[in-house]
């Protein structure tokens, strides 16, 4: 066979393999949409579950997940951005830096159920928050740290060095340079990382299992120390714990969770594309 023919075949084969990657995600989304779309209604979003969760809506679970996502943001963002700034701008090759980097790599590798158990031991029991929104948010926050730190550090390092040099040459301090030149330019990348991290947190079940999620709680939480229902856990419960659960309610709940997480990823992609187009250096 001629080299040119081999080249053509290789190109076709690789294209097909790449296309195969798209198929599972499309199938999953289609499957959930087809089976769940019929359940979606105004009542489904605004009513609590009723009749042993076999009827009604998912309102407390959806709202709980939104609250937990905000709580995660509050817990994770300051720590993550602080760590990213340290690593990108201040870190020298010393022991502290090595420890911070090792910690981040290991945080990313810990299974989510272990976060759940850690949250139970640390926030629920030791710090005495009980199973509560604050305990769940902190647990999810820690789990989100590595994604946000890595994305933020990358975004900060992508800001060209010359802007820092110019800023310093104008008599700005290091912090003023970071605050007024580096962070504004890195912000779109940082926001992308935050949204992706939060999207993952919103869909996780294991970390909230022991720290915040309620099996069935039709009332809304009144404070950060209350439990709440949450969509991923609710989905787990109605899929495995409730006998005779109608399938369409399960698929409806799955569809809402999927849409929530996918829309966050979509926003992140739009922000990133927008910033690439606007970037001027």
């Amino acid at each position: 066979m001629k080299r040119q023919q081999t080249d053509k075949i290789a190109r076709i084969a690789i294209t097909i393999v790449a296309a195969l990657v798209v198929i599972p995600i499309i199938l999953v989304i289609l499957f959930i949409i087809i089976n769940g779309i019929g359940t979606l209604s105004w009542e489904f979003f605004t009513q609590p579950p009723g009749n042993g969760m076999k009827e009604g809506g998912i309102m407390p679970a959806l709202l709980g997940t939104i609250i937990l996502t905000f709580g995660t943001a509050i817990a994770a963002i300051p720590l993550a951005i602080g760590a990213a700034i340290y690593l990108a701008e201040y870190a020298k090759e010393n022991r502290l830096t090595r420890w911070v980097r090792i910690a981040i790599v290991n945080l990313a590798g810990i299974p989510s159920i272990v976060y759940g158990l850690f949250g139970l031991g640390m926030f629920v029991l030791f710090m005495g928050f009980g199973t509560s929104i604050i305990a769940g948010s902190l647990t999810l926050g820690i789990m989100t740290l590595p994604v946000v730190i890595s994305a933020s550090e990358e975004a900060i390092l992508a800001v060209p060095q010359e802007f820092r040099v110019v800023s310093l040459s104008l008599g700005a301090t290091k912090w003023q340079t970071i605050r007024h030149q580096v962070l504004p330019q890195a912000l779109p990348g940082i926001i992308t990382g935050i949204i992706l991290g939060l999207g993952r947190a919103a869909g996780e079940t294991a970390p909230i299992l022991f720290t915040v999620a309620a099996f069935y709680l039709p009332e809304l939480p009144r404070s950060a120390f209350d439990q709440t229902m949450a969509l991923p856990y609710h989905l787990y419960v109605i899929s495995t714990q409730v006998p005779g659960m109608p399938m369409d309610v399960q698929y409806g709940s799955a569809l809402v969770l999927l849409l929530l997480v996918l829309s966050m990823t979509l926003i992140a992609t739009v922000v990133r594309t927008g910033m690439r187009r606007k970037r001027e250096w």
Binding site: V166, S167, S169, L170, G171, R279, E280
Partner: protein, 257 residues
Amino acid sequence: MTEQTIPNKIDVHDFSFFYGDFQALKRLNLPIKEKQITALIGPSGCGKSTFLRAINRMNDTIPGIRAEGQILLDGEDIYAPDVDVVELRERIGMVFQKPNPFPKSIFENVAFGPRVLKMTNRRDELHQMVRESLEGAALWDEVKHRLKDSAMNLNPGQQQRLCIARTIAVQPEVILMDEPASALDPVATLHVEDLMRTLAENYTIVIVTHNMQQAARASDWTGFFWLGELVEFNKTSALFSSPERELTESYITGRRG
């Protein structure tokens, strides 16, 4: 004023500079005269840019550097341990080789320095500073109607004058220019050279250049660097018409370098 009576803004005494084990500058001695233009010439890697960056301590960010000897600004050693580098850079501004405006509006570029140095907190005063700086950089008339436009939409020559405006907005005493015209076309280059002449009425200017004609045209004093040493320093007219060292002569006539 005769040249003997022009005061020295900067005095360099036996100044050496090291990157790790490599000695980039070898016991330099020269004066930088107040409100005059001093040109530093020499081939690539001769240390002229290193010396320029040593004057406002921009080399400090590089790990493993070491300075010996003294650079005195108004008699004060800028490498003394109690020197505040941030304050030093307020007094010694810098214009870089490549025009490098911030990706912000024209106004914000010039206003950045006065803002971070908290020179004013009044909107009208800030506006006045921006205007005077742009006028000082001979750019005001071209941009006065579009101060909110992105600086990235200016042409390279305008961008470089914007960078000069940004530097003088901080009201430094000395302006260091690192080949400020090397990325510009000939017309824009002449623009910048004219501007330097005007700026020298108020500022002490040190310029690094590869361009022999530029040094001859635009400067009052010239120092010739070779392999980290200052080979010759003199009035520009004297250095170019009757260089004392053979090395200088062969370089400026283009036989060496």
